[in-house]
Symmetry: C2
Subunit: 204 residues, 2 copies
């Protein structure tokens, strides 16, 4: 393994173990054993365990949001559908046998103090996800994209919490149906000519 790969390998190993057992329950001894590196190596790349957690969350934050963007682009139909397709992405994450709940919610749940760096990193991820939803809602010409974004986010969070307990993918589909029904009643400004060609007719 090349030197530059070790840091990535450590982050991936740590993320897998944090997801599997949680943050406090995952000791650095287990991480280095699973990663196959010496303890000195870990502490050369990360000052403390908290630094490792923060780096892991940052990495996963980018991965997750990039994956969702890519999924939406690939499955994009009309602009309203894009918001609903995010629930299909959610469903794919639930179908992963390794899914054990949102790692950012778990991170905030194990580091409950609002001034804690891990808690703030989790909050930052959620803010960026909501910003993406707002971007989609704005593109779909909803009258109140900020409100729409937080509603979609609330449904995402609900689906993840339910799926964490039940370990089934159905909550993603249920949340999608609920979102579809709510969005159908929302006001949208008229689309410009040639844009948003395939959108469904809204009862406005």
């Amino acid at each position: 393994m090349r030197r530059s790969e070790i840091r990535d390998h450590l982050l991936e190993t740590a993320l897998r173990l944090f997801n599997q057992h949680g943050y406090h329950a995952t000791g650095v001894d287990l991480i280095i054993a699973e990663a196959g590196v010496a303890k000195t190596t870990l502490y050369r790349h990360f000052e403390t365990k908290e630094d490792l957690i923060l780096a892991a969350l940052e990495r996963r934050d980018e991965e997750d949001r990039n994956a969702m963007r890519a999924f939406v682009e690939q499955h994009a139909s009309d602009l309203v559908e894009r918001l609903l397709v995010t629930f299909d992405f959610l469903e794919t994450t639930f179908r992963d046998k390794q899914f054990r709940g949102c790692i950012f919610v778990s991170a905030a749940g194990e580091h409950k103090d609002t001034v804690n760096a891990v808690f703030r990193a989790a909050v930052m991820h959620k803010r960026l996800v909501i910003a993406y939803f707002e971007e989609l809602a704005h593109a779909a010409r909803f009258a109140e994209p900020k409100r729409i974004a937080t509603e979609i986010n609330l449904l995402h969070e609900g689906a993840m919490a339910v799926a964490q307990m039940t370990r089934i993918a159905e909550p993603a589909r249920q949340a999608k149906r609920m979102a579809g029904q709510l969005l159908a009643a929302e006001e949208r400004s008229p689309s410009a000519p040639g844009e948003d060609a395939g959108r469904r007719t809204q009862a406005s």
Copy 2:
């Protein structure tokens, strides 16, 4: 303090600390220090720390569901409103300065294995909450009370997850508005004469 009160006092102290710091981060030494009892006393009442966690969750499960039932009874208007009033109850819990997220979700997040006793206790709580929602949905004569119950629950979970991060009460109101909009579109069987007198007219 009378003998019989010690167990209750221990459970209350443990619940407070679990809510404040999480389960793994709360050691038994801290619990006994805060409760002001000797270690021997704790281990006379509970065989292990896990037993203490399980007893604390059971206690909180009953407390929470009884409190919700009482709140709904007290604020009951018509039968549909009862489902929406559960979100007002949720809002009161969010307004508590000590709110740091649902302790059952946190418990499941720190004990992610589905065969773990703590995980199962958390799941059991959620099942009982959903059963209560179904009871309300059935009384309100919704055509599909089971589906309605899981939808209400998904909105509750979403609101709790968002409130855990933002530490504001608004998600409860937002979830209530979403629930109201969804329920307004649901089919209900006609009410028997004299029953459900104050219900709003539905567009059925």
